[in-house]
Symmetry: C2
Subunit: 426 residues, 2 copies
């Protein structure tokens, strides 16, 4: 097959996926809550029943990845174990039991002319999910889309192809048993990277929104090439600010958790801002606790002068999402200076203030425009599960449509239903 | 000046507009409700006080347009009169008195670990409004953006430049008196069409959303070129369906109003679908009423056989938004067939069902995915004012973020505020 033929063939495969997805989306949009619940509970059962098959498919992916000499961290993300499959089953079950968002009345009111207006949730349509190596995204994203009445086109990394395929088979079992078309969940049947480009162009209007789940390279490509809306999950350059009114114990434990609980997640803190008035009392206890846990601390001149175990931060440090056991620390003269620093360097994902003064908290909450603001709590709570959403397809850092954790409600749109009795407009 | 110099100069003008808008947006985001109200009421007063100046500016635009031999309909949209200025003042005052959306709590809940989560409205940031000849859009869009805490960059058609400029001056008076930066409202200071392209590329991240207000050519250009989110207002290919359970009187009066009240607005009906069971009773009364009002009726074979005054509809008619006194009429065998026709041809803007059978209404409401669905009421109610929004910047036909009339609430995003007492994540 020539390159031109291959491209044509990919184009027609992808177009067909798009047309099928639209058919699936129409059926799913009018499916009953019970059908969707049945589909998901059945899928969870199928994952349990086909555990061996899924592990065997994953072993094939793992072997191929090892042969390619792929990094240990990558292999860890790719690997499925019995415990991880248990986690996947539990996640699908949790999503199955969430309240059905579709058809819910969000608002309703009467007009003076007697019209009754209702705003009700509707699915978005077809969601394209582009992810990398984690096979669990297949099940999570598939389940969240089914629950919210959306068809999904899944494009996993080539390294997880067999694992994803085995998990999709289980979702299809669920759809089939619930009397829903299997076109509701489709896995792109090729590992050709050009398939991503086709999805980003929207498959002739048959993809309504793209959700990229992956590293900076993927997200940057999506931002550049997408011709359809994107729920972008950009980096989390997350700040913790220790106000002059901060309680020392909370300052230490929250900062430690915000940085070190898991360093690779987007809610992990990257920069610590400390009010000058509490340098003498709060700075060293926090830094010492971080260093004791194995964190490298890069500070400004005041920090370095106060603690000989710290390295020197450069301008670049204020702009860096380490995703590692490193933190930058800066002393600020005031709450206003902290807010200005965050305004300049933050990725507007998540920020926390440690303070006992309610006026400082209110100012922080009012003036900082990040998706998630926390008072006296760890930034690692930036997570759909921790919000009580029962699952998330990602954390949106844009301001359009969804912001913060994207759960089933955020995967919906709405329409207006207006009831009258013959009203005409004057 | 060479072309390259002119382009560079346009680019730097536009970049500066963008940077200024961002500064304005930051100030406006934390402005008090009272400041925004004061700004708008003062602006309304200034429009009244500067009435003569505004009319003189408009006369200049009108004279230039007449010299260019521009159409009568266009001149009508461009013209300002004392009565129209009264309308503009009233609209700005109405928007001033709307509840302030910013900071409003949309939802709040507690988590088992004691965290209290609040979702509160925030402005979107900077809104770029691209419109054609109607000068009143300057005041409406400016006022809606100020109220919702957003800075706005207005790019009006070159033909309305002087009128728009005079109205913007009044908005700036309001901002100034309320202690808000005048950068909150900026009019693109050039009639160079390349300025639109610059806005569609987002002015280096300084435009958060584009609102196009204009005809198909503008909307198509925006859809093709925009690299930032768009609240697109596509065509309204609006349907009225007469169910077999329809009340004859409602069927006649609602259809007549839906088509003929104003034929040029997006909520005007374009296609009438009539259930076969009521052809004998309902069809001719509706058609005769339309024809008596001067409407051309293009029907399918059954319609033609029943009424000799009708023309013959072609496939093209089902796809046409006439924006004129023409309607296409088709007989359908069932509610399902009506839904299938709408699914195939509708622009998903607005559709109405005339029926007395609640089961038919529920099915129509559940299965059709258009922004606005009406029961026994005219499609011309598809309007932010009629929804009680106090004004709209357009009607969104997309499903992301805003759908239907875009009022002050739809011009906001949200953020999460989480209050804790030292919680760390296990």
């Amino acid at each position: 097959m020539s390159l031109a033929e291959a491209e044509q063939s990919l184009g027609s495969i992808m177009s067909e996926l798009g047309r099928n997805a639209r058919i699936g989306a129409r059926a799913l949009a009018i499916a009953t809550p019970e059908q969707k619940r049945t589909a998901l509970l059945t899928a969870a059962g199928a994952i349990n029943a086909h555990r061996k098959k899924i592990l065997a498919a994953n072993a094939k992916d793992m072997e191929a990845a090892r042969t390619k000499g792929i990094s240990k961290a990558f292999l860890d993300r790719l690997e499925l174990t019995d415990a991880r499959i248990d986690g996947i089953i539990e996640a699908v079950q949790t999503i199955a039991e969430l309240p059905d968002p579709v058809g819910t009345t969000i608002a309703e009111w009467d007009r003076p002319n007697g019209l009754h207006i209702e705003r009700v949730r509707t699915p978005l349509g077809v969601i394209g999910v582009i992810f990398e190596s984690r096979p669990n995204v297949t099940a999570d994203a598939g389940a969240l889309c089914i629950k919210s009445g959306n068809a999904v086109i899944l494009r996993g990394g080539s390294d997880s192809f067999h694992s994803s395929h085995a998990l999709v088979e289980c979702l299809l079992d669920g759809l089939h048993l619930a009397g829903l078309p299997v076109e509701c969940v489709q896995l792109v049947p090729t590992t050709d990277r050009a398939a991503v480009g086709e999805m980003l162009r929207g498959l002739d209007g048959n993809i309504d929104v793209i959700v990229p789940r992956g590293g900076k390279t993927l997200v940057a490509r999506v931002q550049n090439e997408a011709r359809v809306p994107v729920f972008a999950h950009l980096e989390g350059l997350v700040h913790v600010y220790i106000d002059k009114s901060a309680d020392l114990e909370k300052a230490v434990s929250v900062t430690l958790n915000a940085k070190m609980r898991r360093t690779g997640i987007c809610g992990a803190a990257e920069t610590l801002l400390v009010h000058r008035d509490v340098v003498k009392t709060h700075l060293n206890p926090i830094i010492d606790a971080l260093i004791a846990k194995g964190c490298e601390v890069r500070g400004d001149a005041t920090v370095n002068a106060n603690n000989p175990l710290t390295e020197t931060a450069t301008e670049e440090d204020w702009r860096t999402e380490y995703e590692d056991a490193i933190i930058s620390v800066k002393i600020v003269d005031s709450l206003e200076a902290a807010i200005a620093h965050i305004e300049k360097y933050s990725s507007h994902h998540t920020e926390a203030i440690i303070a006992e003064d309610p006026i400082a908290v209110d100012k922080f909450f009012r003036e900082i425009d990040s998706a998630i603001l926390l008072h006296n709590a760890s930034t690692q709570f930036a997570d759909g599960g921790e919000f009580g959403f029962g699952g998330e397809i990602g954390i949106a850092t844009g301001k359009m449509h969804a912001r913060g954790p994207v759960g089933v409600e955020q995967l919906t749109s709405f329409k207006y239903r207006i009831r009258g009795n013959g009203q005409t407009r004057p």
